[in-house]
């Protein structure tokens, strides 16, 4: 015999179905593997590029070999790890052509030439330029009887910063980018799943059977919670694997920062997910077939991409960018911008808290409006439900959430 079912039990039953169906599905495992592969690929590519760009090599001919000490000194002060090789002019040119050497220094005083294949590394240009200048200067000074070493000491400028330079800036940037990418993938991916699930129930008409048993908000909330939990699970799996892999690979030197960023990503995933899942569900409920879904969710994908693109373009060179600072408080954008600013160490915790509170207020408003659209639209098949109908008072629509209160009145 059936027993009374509380609202929470109904909601949990729905959430559990969504969770188990999704976690057992092939797409969950594949999605996880693809994301891991993507991150692994990015890490490998990054390492490869880093390996490529370091240690430029320079050939010096018998005519220019006298510059070698000056070049080495300039390289040392400019912090460039330079490999210098004395070669003859002809073979040297060939080795530049094959890429074995990055550049060849030819010519003589007054007419030096730095020869590259199709371009010359800018660091190499700077180092060689400095060396040639200094040598010319030293010669001129000696002729006029000035002690070059003394002059150099007198003309030195010491560089210092008010705030000690953060030695972990690169790592912070990596964390910010990875966190932003993870959030983007999770929010757009699982938001899309919510919309797909809503349309699946509508298209297969199972929703009528479900709504004869439970209320629309229970079905919607259960779906959002269930799928949100799957997204969280994926986030945690990726986070743990990523952190462990980075630590083992020696890429991670500040585990505290990684843990903080991880917590931040989880927090903003939860806020962002409820915000966007509600919108995805509402938009999904207005169409009747999966084929119609893509065109109507495109605006949401744009909204998710804008802060992502802003973060990736603005913050690496300018963590204190004012536009980003303002946008990190704007709901729908803050879930991406704020954690990135936090990772870069430019947003204190109180700013994160204020931004999270603003976003939570937005969640409350959006969930209410989205719930109304969902209730008004979920049983309407055929043409797309218009905005005015969707936003109308639920009691006027066909899918009254509480018909009993009216029919018993």
């Amino acid at each position: 015999m059936s027993a009374p079912l509380s609202a929470n039990q109904a909601l949990l039953l729905v959430a559990r179905r969504e969770f188990t169906t999704q976690v057992r599905s092939r797409s969950f495992v594949i999605g996880l593997l693809v994301t891991l592969g993507l991150f692994g690929g990015i890490a490998l590519l990054g390492g490869f590029i880093a390996g490529q760009s370091s240690n430029p090599s320079l050939g010096v001919t018998p005519e220019t070999v006298s510059l070698q000490p000056a070049i080495e000194a300039a390289a040392a002060t400019q912090d460039v790890a330079l490999r210098i090789e004395p070669v003859d002019d002809g073979p040297g040119r060939e080795r530049v052509d094959t890429g074995d050497l990055d550049a060849l220094l030819t010519g003589s005083a007054g007419g030096y030439e730095l020869l590259g294949r199709d371009t010359v590394d800018t660091q190499l240009q700077a180092v060689v330029g400095t060396a040639v200048q200094q040598q010319a200067l030293a010669g001129a000074l000696a002729e006029s009887g000035v002690d070059a070493a003394q002059l150099a000491q007198q003309s030195q400028v010491a560089v210092d910063t008010l705030v000690p330079a953060d030695p972990n800036r690169g790592e912070q940037l990596a964390l910010a980018i990875i966190g932003t990418v993870l959030l983007f993938i999770s929010l757009s991916g699982y938001g899309q799943l919510v919309a797909t699930g809503v349309v699946e129930e509508k298209q297969s008409r199972v929703v009528e059977l479900l709504l004869a048993t439970i209320k629309p908000w229970q079905l919607l909330a259960g779906k959002v919670l269930g799928l949100g939990a799957v997204g969280l699970l994926q986030l945690v799996i990726l986070g743990v694997i990523g952190t462990v892999a980075a630590a083992v690979g020696g890429l991670l030197t500040v585990p505290g920062a990684a843990a903080g960023m991880f917590a931040m990503v989880v927090l903003w995933y939860l806020i962002g997910f409820f915000l966007f899942a509600a919108l995805y569900a509402a938009i999904g409920s207005t169409v009747s077939r999966q084929e119609e879904l893509n065109s109507v969710v495109t605006p949401l994908i744009f909204v998710l991409m804008i802060p992502f693109i802003l973060v990736v373009n603005l913050l690496p060179n300018d963590p204190r960018n004012e536009l980003a600072a303002v946008l990190s408080f704007v709901p729908f954008l803050s879930q991406t911008v704020m954690p990135a600013r936090y990772a870069l160490g430019v947003a204190p915790l109180w700013e994160v808290g204020v931004s999270a509170l603003i976003a939570l207020v937005a969640v409350v408003v959006v969930v209410r409006v989205a719930g109304r659209v969902y209730e008004n639209s979920i049983l309407r098949t055929g043409a797309r439900v218009g905005l005015r109908e969707a936003l109308g008072r639920p009691a006027a629509g066909p899918a009254d959430p509480q018909p009993s209160t009216r029919s018993s009145a």
Binding site: S2, A3, E201, V207, A212, P403, S407
Partner: protein, 294 residues
């Protein structure tokens, strides 16, 4: 007893239901007939709370039907709906649990009903892999799996093969015999006539007739007889005869059939004098016609 009292519903300018009232008693199979768009599905959706009524109410055992009561109704929507990619067993268990059955009982009920409906061997298959007939059986199992106190089935027989129709009829009869009021809609009037204790005919959003087939036959009090033997035209001037259609003679309410028989015998030999009991198809046609002209 399930009472539908004065239910009205408009969709924009269309009056889908206009003051619809009828009752279904425990142990009764109630057939709901009417042309497409007459209001059957809208009525059932309102009973289930999937739609809200503009006026009127639905009462079960003296209590307005609320979410708690609805959970004990078994429902088969006109638009069949199950999760296409979910396994039959998982799906039915889920629906049983949503209706409030504890996990263990839900599993047992799923076993029992799928075996009874002959889809027990498909529990591990996705619904979309089943034939339409078998999907329909699963849909019926979904309506029955929580041992409902009321059954509301929208077109449960459409698309079923004769064997499945027999199985489905048997199940409905058994549920009714166990004291459950059963409402179902159908266009198969012979089936409705055979299976139903009472019938409701709806046309243009209004209930135009409610009652047993016998009651529907005597709705206007007139009776009809097939009379074989007397020469044509014998009944033209017999008092109480309303109309003659070939050998069929229709009598006004209260007419003494023995007097008519005597008049027939006076006109010639009578080989057959038999009360004509029109089948539901004919009653339906007449009722809908008179309902439309009223």
């Amino acid at each position: 007893m399930l009472d539908i009292r004065g239910v009205s519903k408009r969709f924009g300018r269309v009056h889908a239901l206009d003051d619809v009232s009828f009752s279904v008693r425990p142990g009764e199979v109630f057939g709901f007939v009417g042309s497409n768009g007459a209001g059957k599905t809208t009525t059932m959706r309102i009973v289930l709370g999937v739609l809200s009524a503009d006026a009127g109410d639905v009462v079960w055992q003296g209590r307005p039907v609320d979410a708690e009561v609805r959970r004990r109704i078994g429902y088969m929507p006109e638009e069949r709906g199950l999760y296409p990619k979910m396994k039959v067993g998982d799906q039915l268990t889920y629906l049983a649990r949503l209706h409030g059955l504890p996990a263990a009982e839900a599993g047992a009920a799923v076993q029992r009903w799928t075996e009874l409906l002959d889809v027990g061997h498909r529990l591990g298959d996705e619904v979309q892999k089943l034939s339409l007939g078998n999907q329909q059986r699963v849909q019926l199992a979904a309506a029955l799996v929580h041992d409902p106190e009321v059954l509301v089935l929208d077109e449960p027989f459409s698309g079923l093969d004769p064997t499945a129709v027999e199985v489905m009829s048997g199940v409905l009869r058994r549920k009714a015999d166990a004291g459950v009021p059963v409402i179902f809609s159908s266009h198969q009037l012979e089936l409705v006539e055979r299976l139903c204790d009472r019938i409701g005919i709806i046309a243009g959003g209004r209930m135009v007739a409610v009652g047993s087939v016998a009651e529907l036959r005597e709705r206007d009090g007139s009776t009809a007889f097939d009379v074989q033997g007397p020469p044509a035209g014998w009944a033209a001037d017999v008092p109480g005869v309303l109309s003659v259609d070939g050998t069929r003679v229709r009598l006004a309410p209260g007419t003494d059939d023995q007097q008519v028989l005597k008049a027939a015998l006076a006109a010639g030999p009578v080989h057959e004098f038999r009360r004509w009991r029109p089948p539901l198809t004919e009653l339906y046609r007449d009722v809908v016609k008179s309902g439309a002209s009223a």
